[in-house]
Structures are given as structure tokens and as C-alpha cells.
């Protein structure tokens, strides 16, 4: 596992930014983002021989390759689950370090807000044998059918086990919106909120408030990954992949670990963290910036605990007041705004922001951001990255 550390790097980033409705197809948004990522890296479509996409998206390798004049792919395939973002980077890194490809693009597009989506739900009848439907039919008849509801169930258990009160999560949203307010690409640019506004926010699924939950957006992101050796000859400062990991455990589903051994903890995130720190050869206290899954605010303190940034039950107190987690603090989180303060692209924007921190180009730049961690998919199949200079 360690042999892959520092052998690959993210060398190009492209993003549509975030909107409630760009008025574009996901294929077009992907093409624009990939072109931007190639320009960023100093590459052309003919250089690309690998592509990793997400199974939730309809635009496929053929459609994208044909649209862009990328006609010579030797390494491609899909990843699944909302927590796939860093796992897609891992797959790309495996491709380039094994010599199966030279330059791999990783991409996602998700028009969740406008609904200009060419593929809808994974939960079709033909998915009967997938794990979500093992559980789905036992939840829906009771009206337990929203992702917020599923997250609320594990959050309530976490609160019970750790003596945490619901209001303690407010600083996560407040700080993400503070960072997002500085980011012109996000939908909350110039729109910070106060902790008082959070406390007045209505309950959606108790114990989750509206301001604990992400809002749907339209967005696309593309990344370019190559070997460390090739990365040094390209335009940007490489964001070296010190480690990448993907984890899944029994009894869980997406944001829904009801049947596993510890629903009130994030088992997959914990195991992912152990692999990340071991492969990178670094300790949690060495991480300068973290981009954590904040689709739902309480997942942030739960991840801080699972990743070893603080002790069990200490995550909410760590976030309280916001000073430790805002730029300039002990561990700035989600410096682009993340899902709560920039937009929701299943942590792909968190990877982009990690690269910006490494390059020193974030709109909420942390000093000495030489080690940046990304954690995706909290509460289900997870993935993570540690990037370094």
C-alpha cells in the first residue's frame, strides 16, 4: 500500500462552479470542465488515455471521448456511491502508477437542482439485488425515505452515546457558510449566516435542522491525474497523492449504518483514516487543512472523531465557537464552503479545494497548507485522500 505514496499527483482541476440552474446538459458541463482541467495542466485531449466516471451519471466514456476528441482510451470504468470522490482519484492513481495509462481524467456532473439530469435514480427495480434495496423495502413503508431521515437516525444515536445536544452542530454550518461567502464559485457567495440564524432554522427531520442539510445545486468537476514524474513537467505545482483509501463495512448503506455494529460512529471513516495515515506515514496532528463530508453538519464532528483529530464525543466541542475550524484555526475545514457553503457535488469540490490549498490558490487560503486531508462518504461507503506538496 505504501509503495504508491507520492507516486501520483493531481495536476489539473476544472470546475463549472455551482448554480441552481446552468441551463446546460451534464455532458456539456463535463466537456467544459475537462477542457478547463486540461488547460490547467497544460495538456490536450489527445494526451488523455484514461477516464474514471461515476455510475450515477449517464454521459459515458464514448459520449465524452467523442465530444472532446479523446479517441485513445486504455483505462476506464465507473465508481459507485456518493462517497466515491476520493476513490475515483485512487482508481486513477492505480492506473497511472501501474502503467495502464499516462493521464487519467476523473469527472462528475450532477444537475440535482435544475433536474436537467440524464439519469435519475439508482433505485430501479433492476437494482433489486443491490444492498440499498435489501434495506429500502423495510424503510419506505414507514415513511423512512429521505437521506436526511437516514442521517438523522445515526446522528440521534451519536448524540445519545456522546451526550451531544443538537444546537452544538450549528458552528459547522456557520463556518462553512463563512468560508463559502468568500468563494465566488459557490451558490452562497457573499451570504454568511449567524449562529442565531442556525438556531432559528426549522427542524426537517428531528434532530436535523434545515441548515444542517445541503441544498441541491448543479455542478461539474474534472481532475487530471498522472505520475509524480510526469507531474513535475506540467504547468502547476503538483498535488502529490500521499495516500488514498476506500472502505466499506457490513450492515451499512449510503448515510445509513443502521444494521452495523456501531451506528452512532462512522466505522468506514475510521478505517479509511487508519489506512490514509498509515500509507502517507503522517499523524492526524500534522494535517493542516481538512475537507470533510458536510452534506449534513453533524457528520463533521463525527468525522473529526473517527479520523482521530479529537477524542470520542469531543467533536462538537471542537467545533464550538468555530475558532478551531475556521481559516487560521487549529484545523480549518471546508475552506471552499464545502457542501453546506459552496454546493453539493458529492465531495468532488472538496478534492478540488484540497488541490487549491496545496497550490496556495484558495479563496480562504490556509498558511502552510502542505498536508491536506479529504474525507468523503461519511456514514456509508467512504473514501479519502491525503495530498501533499
Amino acid at each position: 500500500m505504501r509503495s504508491m505514496s507520492r507516486k501520483a499527483a493531481i495536476v489539473g482541476i476544472g470546475t463549472s462552479g455551482f448554480s441552481r440552474d446552468f441551463g446546460k446538459t451534464e455532458l456539456r458541463m463535463i466537456c467544459e470542465s475537462v477542457r478547463m482541467a486540461l488547460d490547467d495542466a497544460g495538456l490536450v485531449p489527445e494526451d488523455i488515455d484514461g477516464m474514471i466516471k461515476h455510475s450515477d451519471e449517464a454521459p459515458d466514456e464514448r459520449a465524452i471521448g467523442d465530444s472532446m476528441g479523446m479517441g485513445n482510451l486504455t483505462y476506464f470504468g465507473d465508481c459507485r456511491w456518493d462517497g466515491a470522490a476520493c476513490g475515483m482519484v485512487l482508481r486513477a492513481a492505480i492506473g497511472v502508477t501501474s502503467g495502464m495509462a499516462n493521464y487519467v481524467v476523473v469527472l462528475r456532473a450532477f444537475n440535482e437542482s435544475s433536474g436537467r439530469r440524464t439519469k435519475t435514480s439508482m433505485r430501479d427495480i433492476d437494482q433489486l439485488c443491490t444492498s440499498d434495496l435489501l434495506q429500502w423495502g423495510f424503510h419506505v413503508p414507514y415513511g423512512h425515505m429521505t437521506e436526511a431521515g437516514r442521517v438523522a437516525m445515526i446522528v440521534r444515536r451519536y448524540m445519545h452515546e456522546c451526550g451531544v445536544k443538537g444546537n452544538d452542530f450549528g458552528w459547522v454550518t456557520t463556518v462553512c457558510r463563512e468560508h463559502g461567502a468568500r468563494n465566488p464559485e459557490g451558490v452562497f457567495h457573499g451570504q454568511p449566516i449567524s449562529i442565531e440564524a442556525y438556531l432559528k432554522s426549522e427542524m426537517v427531520v428531528d434532530p436535523l435542522r434545515k441548515l444542517d442539510c445541503y441544498e441541491a445545486t448543479d455542478a461539474a468537476v474534472a481532475l487530471v491525474i498522472t505520475t509524480a514524474e510526469k507531474a513535475r513537467r506540467l504547468k502547476q505545482r503538483p498535488a502529490y497523492i500521499l495516500s488514498a483509501a476506500r472502505t466499506m463495512v457490513n450492515g451499512t448503506e449510503e448515510k445509513n449504518g443502521l444494521y452495523g455494529p456501531e451506528p452512532g460512529a462512522l466505522t468506514e471513516t475510521r478505517r479509511m483514516g487508519e489506512r490514509l495515515f498509515e500509507m502517507a506515514g503522517v499523524k492526524p496532528r500534522e494535517i493542516r487543512v481538512a475537507q470533510l463530508d458536510d452534506a449534513y453538519a453533524p457528520l463533521v464532528p463525527m468525522q473529526l472523531e473517527a479520523l482521530g483529530f479529537c477524542g470520542k464525543g469531543e467533536g462538537a466541542a471542537f467545533c464550538s465557537g468555530g475558532d478551531r475550524i475556521r481559516v487560521g484555526g487549529q484545523l480549518p475545514i471546508n475552506t471552499s464552503g464545502g457542501s453546506l457553503g459552496e454546493g453539493y457535488l458529492r465531495s468532488m469540490n472538496h478534492v478540488v479545494e484540497a488541490v487549491r490549498q496545496i497550490r496556495g490558490t484558495s479563496t480562504a487560503q490556509s498558511e502552510d497548507a502542505h498536508l491536506v486531508l479529504v474525507s468523503a462518504g461519511a456514514g456509508g461507503p467512504s473514501s479519502g485522500l491525503i495530498l501533499g506538496r
Partner: protein, 136 residues
């Protein structure tokens, strides 16, 4: 409002559960190889990989392990907010998601003793739900 979309998909791996509820019986898969209970239903025992399984009756008693209250907007017209959904841990050690009967959401707490009741919501579908259980 039609509840068709809310009905579980019944197939040969899980039919035993829903046949049990029609008889007002809460049954779960128990491995004939190693005796491990499991839920949701699956074709193979994750502990010993046996395909031999029986649908064994649960005591129907347990405690609330976690719960949520949907306060709206309602995710489907068949449901009226506010309504609670509980995660029950049964005496057999397995967990089960269900609705509560006869208890207001604000009265629910983790550790609350509960027992199963049956609600025939359609001619072809009976749902197990839970109510507060007296202990002692």
C-alpha cells in the same frame, strides 16, 4: 393516495418475512448452520456462508435504539407530519426500522421498552409497528 410505490419488493429471499406479518407474526431469518439471526433478509449467512435458513419467531420485544421525527415537508403524500420512525433493537439482537403506535414523537426516548403490534395497511400488506411496553 396510492401506497403502491411504498410497498416492499417481495421476492424469494424476503417473502418469509412478509408472509409472517400476514399471520401477525414477527419472524426473522435464523441461520440453520450457525444460529445467527439476520435482518434485512439475505440469501446467505454472513457469518458462516450457509444457504440453509429458517424463519424463526421473534419475541417482538425490544428497546428503541434510535429514532427520528419527520417534521416536513412530508416525503410522500401517504404520510402526515409530524411522524416518528424508530430503530428498534429486538431481544434477538437484530435491529428493525418501524413506525410507533399510540405514542407521540416527543414521548419517545432511547432505551424505551417496546413491543410489536400489527397494522394491516392494505389487503396484501401487514406492517409490524411498535408500541410502548410496560416492564416489570
Amino acid at each position: 393516495m396510492s401506497i403502491e410505490a411504498l410497498k416492499p419488493l417481495i421476492h424469494s429471499d424476503n417473502a418469509g418475512f412478509w408472509e409472517g406479518t400476514k399471520r401477525q407474526q414477527l419472524v426473522f431469518q435464523r441461520c440453520k448452520g450457525c444460529g445467527t439471526w439476520r435482518h434485512p433478509p439475505r440469501p446467505m449467512c454472513p457469518s458462516c456462508q450457509s444457504l440453509e435458513v429458517e424463519w424463526a419467531p421473534s419475541s417482538g420485544k425490544g428497546i428503541v435504539y434510535s429514532w427520528v421525527t419527520y417534521r416536513g415537508p412530508a416525503p410522500h403524500p401517504a404520510f402526515t407530519i409530524p411522524y416518528a420512525v424508530v430503530l428498534v433493537e429486538l431481544e434477538e439482537g437484530i435491529r428493525f426500522v418501524a413506525g410507533m403506535v399510540g405514542t407521540k414523537p416527543e414521548e419517545i426516548y432511547i432505551g424505551m421498552p417496546v413491543e410489536v403490534v400489527f397494522d394491516a395497511i392494505a389487503p396484501d400488506l401487514t406492517l409490524p409497528k411498535f408500541r410502548k411496553r410496560a416492564t416489570g
